[in-house]
């Protein structure tokens, strides 16, 4: 029983890491700009597709393709901010909402046109399996978990320790005060979208390597990302990290010990239960 619980926890950690990265991107955009960026899932999957293309069609090694995809993700994030969201920045919130929905359909369509309807799996060549007692961990999952930890740590360091990070937090706390303090509030949304999209691309690469990417997959991940956002507390970075990990492990344990047929339902029931006790989410601030 203990081995089974351990195994399910490890199973859940890898997918939890993906949820964390998706949610971090969403929470950054939502917390700072107040935009529910629904296209984040499709943009993430674009990163996975791009990596697959670079590896299979251009013959690049995976380790070379990943940084290129991350940079491409950053640039795509900038473009999304400039072309899609900047024009409606000062408009009613509903405008940004509609833009987000339209953008989702557009990116899905672009993915379909560029990469086709076939399911793709990013070839990594990592097929070793490590065994510790009765627990087995595939090599690829270990790398995914490590990569997720490194990216989250880098993001935290950036936000907490750098001047730009402090500026981002300042805008999130009080935009007017940030302007008075000399923060260039026009460049903040650009940086936020760039970083957020890069994180999403990293998540897309992980999904493509661990599982598969296919049309429509991104929508499922963005729904989970928003669930994590709510579970962890809107706009809270530590909340997104905790929420994503809890959701991943809960799904795995629920499928293993209750029923695999209701895996998603059970995860959302847990989310609702948490919100009943803490309406602000696990680490969110009380209004």
């Amino acid at each position: 029983m203990l081995i089974e619980i351990l195994q399910q926890t490890i199973n859940g950690l890898a997918i939890g890491g993906v949820y964390v990265l998706i949610a971090l991107g969403l929470t950054t955009v939502f917390g700072i700009l107040g935009i529910a960026h629904f296209a984040h899932g499709s943009v993430s999957m674009f990163g996975g597709y791009l990596t697959f293309f670079l590896v299979t069609s251009q013959g690049l090694p995976v380790l070379a393709a990943i940084p290129i995809a991350l940079v491409a993700g950053f640039v795509l994030g900038l473009l999304i901010e400039i072309v899609a969201y900047r024009p409606v920045r000062h408009a009613n919130h509903i405008n940004a909402f509609i833009v987000a929905l339209g953008l989702t359909m557009m990116v899905e369509g672009i993915n379909l046109q560029l990469f086709g309807h076939e399911q793709i799996v990013i070839p990594t060549g990592l097929s070793k399996v490590f065994r510790l007692g009765g627990v087995t961990v595939p090599e690829l999952r270990i790398y995914v978990i490590i990569a997720a930890i490194v990216l989250v740590a880098a993001m935290m360091l950036f936000v907490e320790r750098t001047k730009t990070g402090q500026a981002i937090r300042a805008v999130a706390e009080n935009r007017d005060a940030a302007i008075l303090m000399g923060v260039n509030v026009n460049s903040i949304p650009l940086i936020v979208f760039g970083i957020s999209t890069s994180l999403g691309v990293a998540a897309g690469i992980m999904v493509g390597a661990l599982f598969a990417i296919a049309p429509g997959i991104g929508e499922g991940f963005v729904v989970k990302g928003f669930a994590v956002l709510i579970l962890g507390g809107l706009g809270s970075f530590p909340g997104a990290i905790l929420g994503g990990t809890v959701l991943g492990i809960t799904e795995s344990i629920a499928a293993g010990f209750i029923s695999s047929a209701y895996k998603d339902v059970i995860a959302f029931v847990v989310m609702i239960l948490v919100l009943l006790i803490r309406p602000q989410g696990l680490l969110g601030r009380s209004p």
């Binding site: 087995t136 599982f211 695999s260």
Partner: protein
């Protein structure tokens, strides 16, 4: 004067011949295909649509369909039903109402096919079902519907006998068990296992969109089964096979998937697949294929630059069945006569699958065709036909007739 008249007469005759030939060449029979061209079902639907187009090209090149003195060239319109009942209904309605199509082929997936089957009996059209394996599609006695693939439980019975013979006592099942025909397959397997005192100890479910099966497999691993049985679409099944190895499950793996090597290798490695059994209708496999099957494989690969999926000839065969029936009925307009002619057909010589006739006919009274079943094993990068799984088409046909 006489010469002028003669010249004029010749010119008129030549014009008449030219017009007549042009007229004959203009005769066109539009065939509809409703199938999953995108989404999860596309692994079956897209090769089926390709197979119909290929058969149409072959028939057109060979002169078309001959009806009395007329020759019809086939034109194919294919719509994507995404394996979704609503989309399939819309696609078929569009084919019948807007495009005026009378013959509809394809139909890889059971949910979408069942939705169309529920109303096709009221239409002046003939529906030929391919890969969709849900039993109830041919239990409703719909006169204008036939199916080239045998129902899943026909195959499940033979598969259960095979697994039981291997001596496994405790078998764990993982699959898309919320899909009717997969559940029917497993029920048939279970009935055969019980006869020898074996049992199914777990029935774990995944949905068509699931790609992480490790929670279910971890649960199965803790039960310590002698073997696992995987029933589901190729992509999901491929993840089960891969992740079972990653979880260190070194036990025999049986499946019911009908995926090609290419489709599996997009997800798994050949080493992870080694030894896996696929217990399914004896579909396209180069080791077991007839001359037609070998030619089909070569032509398809050349035309589409990809290997055909094992189940794709169900759709290819549909068009040759239709051709034979239209020629026998002597009409393209009278769909009732063509539907009757299909039921009366002997197996056409051009078909690829190896059908078992019932009372000398390709389709039984339910409109159901039967192929033999086979045990295929993954050996060094490809599916190898190992043995035939004995199946009694006539007995099953009688059983099918008793169902509603």
């Amino acid at each position: 004067m006489f010469n002028r008249v003669k010249t004029g007469a010749f010119a008129a005759l030549a014009m008449a011949i030219a017009t007549a030939s042009a007229f004959a060449a203009d005769k066109k029979l539009t065939i509809g295909v409703a199938d999953a061209l995108t989404g999860g079902g596309a692994v079956y639907g897209l090769p089926q649509a390709n197979a119909v187009r290929m058969a149409a090209d072959e028939i057109n090149t060979a002169g078309g369909i001959k009806v009395g003195s007329d020759t019809y060239k086939i034109d194919v319109i294919a719509y994507d039903d995404k394996a979704n009942p609503t989309e399939a209904t819309n696609a078929v309605r569009k084919l019948i109402d807007r495009d005026g199509v009378k013959y509809i082929l394809g139909f890889c997936c059971s949910g979408s096919t069942s939705a169309v089957a529920s109303f096709i009996g009221n239409e002046k059209a003939v529906m030929l079902v391919g890969n969709a394996a849900e039993r109830s599609i041919t239990t409703k006695k719909i006169p204008n519907l036939v199916r080239t693939r045998p129902p899943a439980d026909f195959t499940g019975q033979a598969a259960g006998t095979f697994i039981a013979r291997k001596g496994h006592k405790r078998i764990a099942v993982i699959g898309a068990l919320d899909v009717g025909f997969y559940a029917q397959y497993v029920d048939s397997v279970e009935r055969e296992l019980k006869k020898v005192g074996s049992e199914i100890i777990a029935r774990e479910v995944f949905t068509l969109r699931d790609r992480d099966m490790t929670p279910q497999l971890t649960k199965i691993r803790a039960l310590n089964p002698d073997a696992i049985l995987v029933v589901g679409y190729v992509e999901s099944a491929a993840f089960v096979y891969r992740q079972a190895v990653e979880l260190g499950m070194n036990i025999p793996r049986y499946g019911f998937t009908s995926g090609s090597e290419e489709q599996f290798l997009r997800v798994t490695t050949s080493a992870q697949m080694e030894g896996v059994w696929d217990l399914r209708p004896t579909e396209l496999d180069l080791l077991s294929a007839s001359k037609n099957g070998i030619a089909y494989h070569a032509n398809y690969t050349k035309k589409y630059n990809a290997s055909p999926s094992p189940s794709s000839p169900y759709a290819y065969d549909q068009l040759y069945v239709l051709k034979a029936a239209i020629e026998a009925a002597g009409t393209v307009d009278d769909t009732v006569a063509v539907a009757k002619a299909i039921r009366a057909l002997a197996i056409p010589p051009q078909v690829v699958m190896q059908y078992q006739p019932v009372d000398g006919k390709m389709f039984d009274v339910n409109g159901q065709a039967y192929t033999s079943n086979g045990a295929f094993q993954w050996q060094k990068g490809k599916w190898v036909f190992v043995e035939d799984l004995p199946s009694d088409a006539k007995a099953y046909s009688q059983f099918l007739s008793t169902l509603n």
